[in-house]
Chain length 245, copies 2
Amino acid sequence: MGGGRAASVITLFAAPGSLQAGASIELDDAEAHHLRVRRGQAGQRVRLVDGSGTVGEALLEMRPAGIQAVVASVTRVDHPVPLTLAVGAGDRDRFALLVEKAVELGATEIAPLEAERAAAVATRLRERNMDSLRRRAREAMKQCGSAWELTLREPQRLEDFLGQPRTGAAWLANPEGEALVELKASDAVTVAIGPEGGFTESESKEFLKAGFRPVSLGPYTMRFETAGLVAMAAVWQARRRGEHG
Amino acid sequence: MGGGRAASVITLFAAPGSLQAGASIELDDAEAHHLRVRRGQAGQRVRLVDGSGTVGEALLEMRPAGIQAVVASVTRVDHPVPLTLAVGAGDRDRFALLVEKAVELGATEIAPLEAERAAAVATRLRERNMDSLRRRAREAMKQCGSAWELTLREPQRLEDFLGQPRTGAAWLANPEGEALVELKASDAVTVAIGPEGGFTESESKEFLKAGFRPVSLGPYTMRFETAGLVAMAAVWQARRRGEHG
């Protein structure tokens, strides 16, 4: 949908701290490969992003050491209002899809939870999958125009997650919850989403005890990655209403 | 998320018109296979759905002809308020994902459009992919608890689509559009979503001329299937507000 920028200007990743006007950025192997695939040429304008809120405009130059991006100007982008998805760590392919979409939809953090019903899923997300997920999140960031990298936590136990400090609204996706969500544009939000089959009764009670409010996100039973997507869309819409209302 | 029903009771598809109390439903090969995989046994209670708003409770019985479902009771479910996605027919795998999610999110119809920028996509959706997509939509219906089958149109030209009668709200997903969407719970909605790279300027003009209103669905550039998902979530939330507000 109207992805003009993504289609026309190549976006490359630069290490945080490296983006300053006049700096010459050496591209790592992955980015150099990406440039060759996209047929980048000397003199061409590219976009650089460091995932920490700095975006650069640069020109490609051929140097003896290889192709480099010479930074013409940089701009700073504010950190987005926090949006954390805490998600039962179910099937890793569905999880990977959720991670990609979370970047496009402006989530700032994903915390996979070792939920009881995810433990039985043979294809569940594990620690060894996290590096590949982080690469996928970075690619999505470059594509969609965001300047901030998604924080992707290691899978953790529910009690560890709930023991951490948290600010803002906290929702527990639940078919029997409230259907109306209201937020101010500046409200941080955490949304908890069960794995396939849902959180167990005792897990749900832990969330409620920790102050999470049950909210309903759609008309039918949703797979966990759909629920995550819909939650992010609902947060975005509610914040926009909170801005204007 | 809380998919208690989907996890515990097997749902089977029955031909429209076949679901009447006392009827004995012969299962087709696909459903009989599904039962074996799920280890369905004589005496077990199953759910039957015909995709046209009739849901049956039935018991499995062993008959000489094979396993049959004997209908104990039926209920009727109203047709949902129409929600049509008209989507540039891009990559068929991403399109398949959108179809599955559309069922879970209560869309009633998907109309793939032969958009200009989709024509260049080698993996684009074609007529020969439609049967497999319809099977996938049916499986999603059985899983998510909906009683109505999604109508999946053949890919068509934009001018043919716009030439057909249409009622209710009409939105064109567009990053520069309005961010606030308001609906009554009973409003039919059509949402148009471009392929990767978006609709061309002249295509967008055709939509606007036909009364479509540009709406913005998220903070960044979205892939077409993400935009579709987010649009459905926005419609659901807006209708819920329209019910209460």
